[in-house]
Symmetry: C2
Subunit: 138 residues, 2 copies
């Protein structure tokens, strides 16, 4: 099995609200949008983010663990400077993102902050000055 | 904010067990491994999978929602044929993956099945014959 990730699928409660956030709010382009079912967004040359109706997700994958708190995953979007981190967090606040954690210096040498999408999925906006971080930039 | 995904981070309970599964079991290469802290694996030209100790994840992101059931996300690995789907699911079973859902025809025209990593994160192994599916192959 090659080490390749093709899609990241997130179960979402209200797909129209996700569409409002990612497409109208962030200004991203939909690769595929089937209302009430699925919204796919290209996030890499061979990678898609797929927002899938929770009802359909559970019918195929099984019941989702529920409870108070954050999902056990985060999605990171790396940028080249701390200023860009702050700009994106400001944009996220303006379009109604929740759980905004302002940018701060991190022990690993970078600078990052978080916001949450309508289902609580955290995006980490990060500047990572090391070689691994640089390898993630376009 | 460009539509780019740099890292997918999964909170894991026992990082050594994750290392055993992904590195020893699947034979993947570590980009970075700090025992008890983090294991990073390259899964795209500008994309990493990061397995992060749950304790550290919660200290930075906040408490994780807990409960019976599957995590609310899946990771997909697309391949070119149904035979490859079956081969990878057989490999996953051999290295001790859980929650194996055998390959089956899907309503969207493809063929896919699932396995779970040691923390229950589902990998969907998929053959998707449409243009979107083809765009995900290397």
């Amino acid at each position: 099995m090659d080490q390749r990730l093709s899609l990241v699928t997130l179960a979402v409660r209200d797909l129209e609200r996700s569409h409002q956030f990612y497409i109208t709010g962030l200004g991203w382009q939909a690769e595929l949008y089937v209302p009430h079912e699925v919204l796919m967004i290209r996030v890499g040359a061979h990678t898609l983010l797929s927002l899938w109706s929770e009802v359909e997700f559970e019918a195929e994958v099984g019941a989702i663990a529920r409870g108070e708190g954050a999902p056990p995953i985060t999605l990171a979007h790396n940028v080249a400077s701390a200023e860009e981190v702050d700009e994106i967090l400001t944009l996220a606040a303006r379009i109604g993102a929740g759980n905004i954690a302002p940018g701060q210096q991190r022990s690993w040498g970078g600078y990052s902050g978080y916001f949450a999408d309508p289902d609580g999925y955290r995006w980490e906006i990060a500047m990572n000055p090391g070689p691994i971080g640089e390898s993630l930039l376009p």
